[in-house]
């Protein structure tokens, strides 16, 4: 099987699941009055990013997933800040790449529970606040209003504080995701493309369908 094609399909399916979760599950959590941003990053984003890293072990994949998920997030049928969220999601993928590139590719460094918990805290916290900071800078620039650095500086303590909850959630989620590496979950080559493209198509059709019905 063509390795590049397999990777592309992986980026598409994990990115689509991420985008779908942000649009649909994130909106449900928001309507329920829950801290949806923290839950999305601490649980869903961490699961997709680490799971894909474990499965493919290739740099650049999570960046691609962020681009796919961010693009899908633009079409969120349930409103919210489309541009800010899309930019934050894309940044989250890039920040994950930087953090994990700095530490480990082969997961050898994360055999003990202390390191797993620590990596969960570090990853979820930095991915969350990194995405937050990037969107605070890029949204005014991309939307053409203009970026004022003092607006970011005075809000920085709030951003740093907001990463605490996703960081704590990540402490529990990452060790759980790493346990999945003990399972021999492999999909047969003949089912790989139909499954990945089928799941991706479902995510896009569901989000775009709702967007055309309610959001457009």
């Amino acid at each position: 099987m063509n390795k590049k094609m397999k990777l592309f399909a992986g980026i598409l399916v994990f990115g689509s699941l991420w985008g779908f979760s942000e649009c649909i599950i994130g909106s449900v959590l928001k309507d329920a009055g829950l801290p949806y941003g923290s839950i999305m990053t601490g649980v869903f984003v961490l699961i997709y990013l680490v799971l894909s890293r474990m499965a493919y072990r290739l740099p650049g994949m999570q960046l691609g997933m962020g681009v796919v998920a961010g693009t899908l997030r633009i079409f969120n049928p349930f409103g919210g800040c489309h541009l800010c969220s899309a930019l934050a999601i894309m940044a989250e993928g890039a920040i994950f790449e930087i953090i994990w590139y700095s530490f480990s590719f082969d997961f050898d460094n994360m055999k003990n529970i202390t390191n797993q918990v620590s990596m969960g805290v570090i990853t979820a916290y930095l991915v969350y606040i990194g995405g937050y900071i990037v969107t605070q800078i890029l949204t005014p620039i991309v939307s053409g209003v203009g970026f004022y650095v003092e607006n970011l500086i005075v809000f920085l303590p709030r951003i740093l504080a907001s990463g605490l909850l996703p960081g704590l959630i990540g402490a529990f989620v990452l060790p759980g995701v790493l346990q999945l590496s003990k399972l021999d979950l492999k999909i047969k080559d003949t089912f790989y493309y139909p499954t990945t493209f089928g799941v991706s198509a479902f995510c896009w059709i569901a989000v775009l369908g709702l967007w055309f019905m309610w959001g457009a």
């Binding site: 409103g79 919210g80 800040c81 489309h82 541009l83 800010c84 700095s102 530490f103 480990s104 460094n109 994360m110 202390t114 390191n115 918990v117 620590s118 990596m119 805290v121 570090i122 916290y125 930095l126 969107t135 605070q136 949204t139 005014p140 939307s143 209003v145 203009g146 004022y148 607006n151 005075v154 809000f155 303590p157 709030r158 740093l160 504080a161 990463g163 605490l164 960081g167 704590l168 402490a171």
Partner: protein
């Protein structure tokens, strides 16, 4: 020391930063019962009494409130050399826009500003101050 041995140190540092930032933001959080404009304090009720209202169309529906440009003019805050208007929230969040955007913006009764053609991140809530610069 290997990177793996530094992981717990980094994690603790991250949690300490998060905890102290939380304590700090809770300590500095302001009160949004009044809005400070040009060093004068106004209640939302007062603002609605002296400034004209308008309705704008946003991608989140119609929003009706005090016209921001009219608010600035009526509080004698407009100056010919100024073109940056910063809206500050009680949680420290703030956004700056130019006069052109004020002409397409409103302050609603629930103390939130909306603009017809900006990203939602400019829709600052719980306004405590409007700074002219």
């Amino acid at each position: 020391m290997g990177k793996e041995k530094l992981l717990p140190v980094f994690a603790i540092a991250v949690l300490i930063i998060g905890c102290f930032s939380s304590l700090y933001v809770n300590a500095i959080e302001g009160d949004s019962k009044t809005i400070k404009i040009n060093n004068e304090e106004y209640t939302i009720r007062q603002i609605f009494n002296f400034a004209n209202t308008r309705t704008i169309i946003t991608d989140d529906g119609e929003k009706t409130g005090v016209a921001l440009d009219d608010l600035i003019i009526n509080t004698a805050s407009k100056c010919s050399s100024c073109n940056a208007y910063t809206f500050k929230s009680k949680d420290g969040y703030q956004q700056t826009v130019t006069w052109d955007y004020l002409q397409k913006g409103v302050l609603t009764e629930d103390n939130r500003i909306y603009f017809s053609d900006t990203a939602h991140s400019f829709w600052v809530k719980d306004i405590v101050e409007i700074e002219v610069g």
